[in-house]
């Protein structure tokens, strides 16, 4: 294990991809635990990017080659899984200014979502109109992964409740009505144990958020009739709170409305 001081001394070299492989791995392990070093690394990477920012004319045909290599997706294939929290170098303390993003547009019918059926520029413009400020995002995709996990999470949730060090999180409305209950394990797994959330229209979904250092990070979508669901925040700090919002069916990258319910972990 590398000490903070040792790691901090090597961050500039790391940012230039100039460490030996074994040192590289040690730094990565340290970064997963150290927000201060992550922030420092981000700054070094910006400097490296400024150094390497040498624009050249793009070769003819390169884009065609990229576009033709995009993996084909069947019309019924779901978009990428809902994000966990973020990757292991995720950082909640970056000093970088907030960046703007937009709430993802509502999910469209499956038939209109496959490769070759592009999100129209018009819909992109509509989505862009819903710009919201965000302090750090993980992209939200869809609830299919959670749907897949629902089949296996009944026993998993029960097992989690017997795990040493587990925490039960009651998620309540502002008027202290319990709307959902989760169990969270020390290894970073979480499960919806029970839900009193009313059924939404199919155009809407419940979305679960983890509050980490004051920021709401998406943990995934619960669907419009939450039953059982599993999520993970392994590799990131444990959220201090869980929160639920109602979002358009495709989910949002940041909460677009007030928190429907929250619970302290």
């Amino acid at each position: 294990m590398m000490s903070h001081h040792e790691a901090a001394e090597l961050l500039a070299v790391f940012a230039l991809d100039a460490l030996e492989p074994d040192e590289h791995e040690l730094i990565e392990a340290h970064l997963a635990e150290c927000p201060r070093c992550r922030a420092e690394l981000d700054a070094h990477r910006q400097v490296a990017a400024a150094l390497g920012n040498s624009v050249e004319p793009l070769p003819e045909g390169l884009w065609s080659s990229i576009a033709s290599a995009l993996p084909p997706r069947r019309d019924d294939e779901p978009p990428p899984m809902p994000t966990l929290v973020r990757d292991q170098t995720g950082d909640e303390t970056s000093a970088a200014p907030p960046a703007a993003t937009f709430a993802a547009p509502p999910a469209r019918p499956r038939a209109a979502r496959g490769r070759g059926r592009l999100i129209s520029v018009a819909s992109l413009a509509v989505a862009a109109a819903a710009v919201a400020a965000v302090l750090g995002i993980s992209l939200v995709h869809d609830n299919n992964q959670i749907s897949n996990l629902q089949h296996s999470s009944a026993t998993s949730a029960a097992a989690a409740l017997t795990t040493r060090g587990h925490k039960v999180v009651d998620v309540e409305s502002a008027s202290h009505v319990q709307l959902a209950q989760f169990v969270v394990t020390p290894s970073g797994q979480g499960y919806l144990v029970k839900s009193n959330l009313p059924t939404l229209s199919s155009a809407q979904t419940y979305q679960l958020w983890g509050v980490i250092n004051g920021k709401a990070i998406s943990l995934g979508l619960l669907g419009h009739t939450p039953n059982r669901a599993a999520f993970t925040f392994a590799g990131s700090p444990t959220p201090s709170k869980l929160a639920i919002t109602v979002e358009p069916a495709g989910g949002s990258v940041v909460p677009t409305g007030s928190m429907l319910a929250t619970g302290t972990v």
Partner: protein
């Protein structure tokens, strides 16, 4: 059509990535239009090969398509994220045996030029002057260590061997040089480099 292009041209990078996450090839194409030249330019510089740089560029954009959530706008710009991806992949390639051989040939050719001078490169408009100014302020040994590591894809140990200098000294030169660069860029008003 022109109207549509105007619209997407006004969308922020973060918004584009969100659209990429929803399978918008239009959005990916716009990211490519904005940043492809920089991604390709850095890869070509490190690899000294147009075909290998094209491979790296393709890999970077396919990765963005498949894993858009790896970009976190809270941690830096999309340009810097893509450049870091491009650099890491180019360095992986340059460290392979074949690329290393090619680099030896490149080094032999470069011997005649002797001088490491980045100021002639096609820098990206406004940033170019500021980076050139920051580089000019660096002591030559720091600048050289950074250039050999970053643009030639060498580890600091390789740089130490090449310059016949202790490894610890090279690490210090890179660290101090990067700090100096950062301070100069902050002073020049470049966003995002201050921790």
């Amino acid at each position: 059509m022109k109207k549509h292009m105007d619209q997407i041209g006004e969308v922020s990078d973060a918004q584009l990535v969100t659209a990429v996450a929803r399978y918008s090839e239009v959005a990916l194409a716009e990211v490519y239009r904005r940043h492809g030249g920089a991604v390709y330019g850095l890869a070509r510089r490190v690899l000294n090969s147009t075909s290998e740089a094209e491979d790296v560029t393709q890999e970077v954009f396919l990765r963005l398509w498949n894993q858009p959530d790896r970009f976190d706008p809270g941690r830096g710009t999309l340009r810097s994220f893509l450049l870091a991806q491009s650099h890491a992949r180019a360095v992986d390639a340059v460290r392979s045996l074949n690329a290393r051989r090619a680099r030896e040939a490149k080094d032999a050719r470069r011997t005649a030029a002797a001088e490491y001078d980045m100021s002639h490169e096609a820098w990206d408009l406004a940033l170019a002057d500021k980076v050139a100014g920051a580089l000019a302020e660096l002591p030559l040994d720091e600048r050289r260590a950074i250039e050999l590591a970053y643009f030639d894809g060498r580890t600091y140990i390789e740089v130490a061997e090449l310059l016949d200098t202790p490894e610890g000294t090279i690490k210090s030169r890179i660290r101090n040089g990067m700090r100096r660069m950062r301070a100069a860029l902050v002073e020049a008003g470049v966003q995002g480099v201050d921790a």
